[in-house]
């Protein structure tokens, strides 16, 4: 008796599923038919959207940027000049140091902060770059990247600390960071060109904007993750906010903050390459130029150069983080 009821039940269910599919299909067919009729009768109100807000908004943005550029030209020029001088100096220095010293330095650093294999591997990778005549481009890429990372850290870590200590600020900055991280990477090039024109400075601005979110996020996370019992103990001994931050929370958040910096470095490298589109020099520019001149060989070699550089930087900084975490042995 009960079995028949179950059987009936399942039959009913099956029927209702089939019915739902049939209904959906019917609606789809009707909508398609209507669309065909609309195009046949040329009802333009339904095919073209009746309003377009784009021109006024575009104009407003144009005016605003014009206003900024005209009135604050001195500031942008000054910033641009400073940045150019700085990039130039770092690049000149990196190129000025004879290549054997640079390779020995990376061998030693890789060995010390990560492991023997990382050190040797990094040295070989740099030798490869040099032997394919990518040395100078690589040094330019590193120079731009270093400055962008430095700016990201100097701005990102304080913002992360602020976000960790204020829930309101966190609520404001979170959607902004989410938005920044979902944007396609070359959208970041726009503000750079607007204020600084083509060149390395625009590239740095784009790189900073692109690379800063993980630095802010992971600083915030690291501080928030600190064991509440330890923070309570710090408070109970009469630490003020500054002492709690500098003596307890930040030191305990260091591993997470370092992970954030590692991500920032990797994202900066990715962006510096794309920033070749706004005139940044370096390996990205080599790829871009070679592609433009249909020299596939050059493009592939410069592209592989970027990959090699990325691996070296990632291995060394990752190794540093892992070793550090092991020695401080945070529970």
């Amino acid at each position: 008796m009960s079995k028949t009821i179950e059987k009936l039940d399942s039959e009913v269910k099956e029927k209702s599923t089939i019915a739902r599919y049939v209904i959906s299909l019917t609606i789809f067919v009707i909508v398609m038919a209507l669309s065909w009729v609309i195009h046949l009768l040329k009802i333009t109100q339904a095919t073209d959207f009746p309003v377009n807000f784009s021109p006024p908004v575009t104009n407003a943005i144009d005016d605003f940027v014009d206003f900024l550029v005209v009135n604050f030209a001195w500031m942008f020029d000054w910033m641009s000049d400073q940045a150019k001088v700085l990039i130039g100096k770092i690049r000149d220095f990196l190129i000025w140091v004879p290549w054997p010293f640079t390779i020995l330095t990376i061998l030693y650093t890789g060995w010390k902060v990560a492991s023997r294999n990382v050190g040797i591997g990094s040295a070989i990778a740099l030798l490869l770059l040099a032997s394919f005549n990518l040395w100078e481009s690589a040094m330019i890429t590193i120079a731009i990247m270093l400055i962008a990372v430095l700016i990201s850290i100097v701005i990102g870590i304080p913002l992360g600390i602020l976000a960790a200590s204020s829930n309101r600020f966190d609520a404001i900055i979170k959607p902004i960071l989410d938005g920044m991280q979902t944007m396609p990477s070359f959208v970041y090039l726009v503000p750079g060109i607007m204020f600084f024109g083509l060149g390395n400075v625009a590239a740095i601005l784009a790189t900073v904007l692109y690379a800063i979110p993980p630095c802010i996020r992971l600083t915030n996370l690291g501080i928030r993750q600190v064991d509440i019992a330890v923070v309570e103990a710090g408070t109970a001994f009469g630490s003020n906010r500054m002492q709690l931050l500098t003596k307890v929370q930040i030191p305990m958040a260091i591993p997470t903050i370092m992970a954030g910096i590692n991500q920032t470095v990797m994202m900066a490298l990715a962006m510096v390459t794309i920033a070749a589109m706004v005139g940044a020099g370096g390996l990205g520019a080599d790829v871009f130029r070679a592609m433009g001149q249909l020299e596939q060989g050059d493009a592939v070699i410069a592209g592989l150069g970027i990959v090699v550089l990325a691996i070296v930087i990632d291995r060394v900084s990752q190794g540093y983080i892992n070793n550090r975490n092991q020695t401080t042995s945070i529970e």
Binding site: A233, A236, G238, P251, S329, I330
Partner: protein, 345 residues
């Protein structure tokens, strides 16, 4: 040394604590308030007076409000109403500067989960309280070393907390608290996270330590055995209220209600009953000097003596003067009672 006076202390967790104080609601039980208003009464009209230099134990099951109470004493939790007078100053009226000073100098806390700083060595952990007072590094390290020696951690100064066993970690916690030379030591279930053997050892060490340091100690525990070992007086809490306050002997021998009685069921009466409460007047001035006890010792201490002599046990004061005797019959009665307790389970 400080005395602590807790007066009409309330703590209500929730978004609208004031509703509990309305005349219609003030007498409602904890669960009624929770059901009707979604407010949790953690402390209900607590009144306690803690004497200078005593070890005062607050005992209760989880959720009884004992941790809230000890956190209120250092204002890690701000009570809803009432006052806490320490040396006649209401600490609940302190502004943030006064509070910081109070936490730096007058009171220190030992935590259940130790709360040690994993990125600092044992020495740096012990010196933390002094470091935030901006005391120079030499003075700070000397003091930290001194308290580490006191808790028996000499030689571990440069280790990190994660390299230490649980018992040793809690010693660091105690050293860190003692380094700031507080008047009051708050201990929130300090030994609950340790193995039973280490736990017993730590209790005995705390008792010894207290004889040297003579602080006012507020000790939180859920273990009556522990309360009786370390406590001069015990307050038993239930549902945010204090049910009974008394010496271990008073709690065990005359529990205020069935709740306390159930708690004390496992504790043998011979362990807490003092000799002075059961001794009788001596018939003669003469007594055997080999088998004497003091009035403060427990009945348990007399049992080995009973095995060696057939005479009543003489009780002498600190000047070796006979103040009473305990007939063997009385001791046996109490032992029999304790044994019955054990078997009736």
């Amino acid at each position: 040394m400080s005395n602590i006076e807790i007066v009409n202390l309330w703590k209500v967790f929730g978004n609208d604590p004031e509703i509990v104080f309305e005349p219609d609601n003030i007498n409602k039980t904890r669960s009624e308030i929770q059901d009707e208003f979604n407010q949790v009464v953690a402390l209900r009209n607590v009144n306690l007076s803690i004497n200078p230099g005593e070890t005062f134990v607050v005992m209760g099951l989880s959720g009884s409000g004992k941790s809230t109470l000890v956190r209120a004493l250092i204002r890690l939790i701000d009570p809803t109403s009432g006052s806490i007078l320490i040396n006649d100053k209401d600490i609940l009226q302190y502004n943030s500067q006064e509070l910081e000073n109070f936490r730096r100098h007058s009171v220190a806390m030992v935590f259940q989960h130790f709360g040690l700083f994993p990125h600092r060595t044992v020495l740096e952990n012990a010196g933390y309280g002094l470091e935030i007072q901006n005391i120079d590094i030499d003075t700070r390290n000397a003091k930290a070393q001194e308290v580490l020696d006191l808790v028996g951690l000499s030689g571990w100064e440069s280790s990190y907390p994660s390299e230490l066993s649980g018992g040793m970690q809690q010693r660091v916690g105690i050293a860190r608290a003692l380094a700031v030379e507080p008047d009051i030591l708050l201990m929130d279930e300090p030994f609950s996270g340790l193995d039973p053997l280490i736990r017993r050892q730590m209790r005995i060490e705390l008792k010894k330590l207290q004889q040297t340091i003579q602080k006012t100690i507020v000790f939180i525990t859920h273990d009556l055995d522990e309360a009786i070992t370390v406590g001069d007086r015990i307050a038993i809490m239930r549902d945010g209220e204090v049910t009974q306050i008394g010496t271990p002997e008073e709690i065990v021998t005359s529990p205020a209600n069935s709740f306390v009685e159930e708690f004390t069921f496992d504790i043998p009466k011979t362990r807490v009953t003092s000799v002075c409460n059961i001794m009788v007047k001596p018939l003669t001035e003469e007594f055997d000097k080999r088998y004497v006890v003091t009035p403060e010792s427990s009945v348990e201490d007399m049992i080995p003596l009973v095995l060696e002599t057939g005479d009543p046990i003489p009780v002498v004061d600190s000047k070796d003067k006979l103040v009473g005797v305990v007939p063997q019959q009385k001791i046996l009665e109490l032992v029999a009672q304790s044994a019955r307790q054990e078997y009736s389970e």
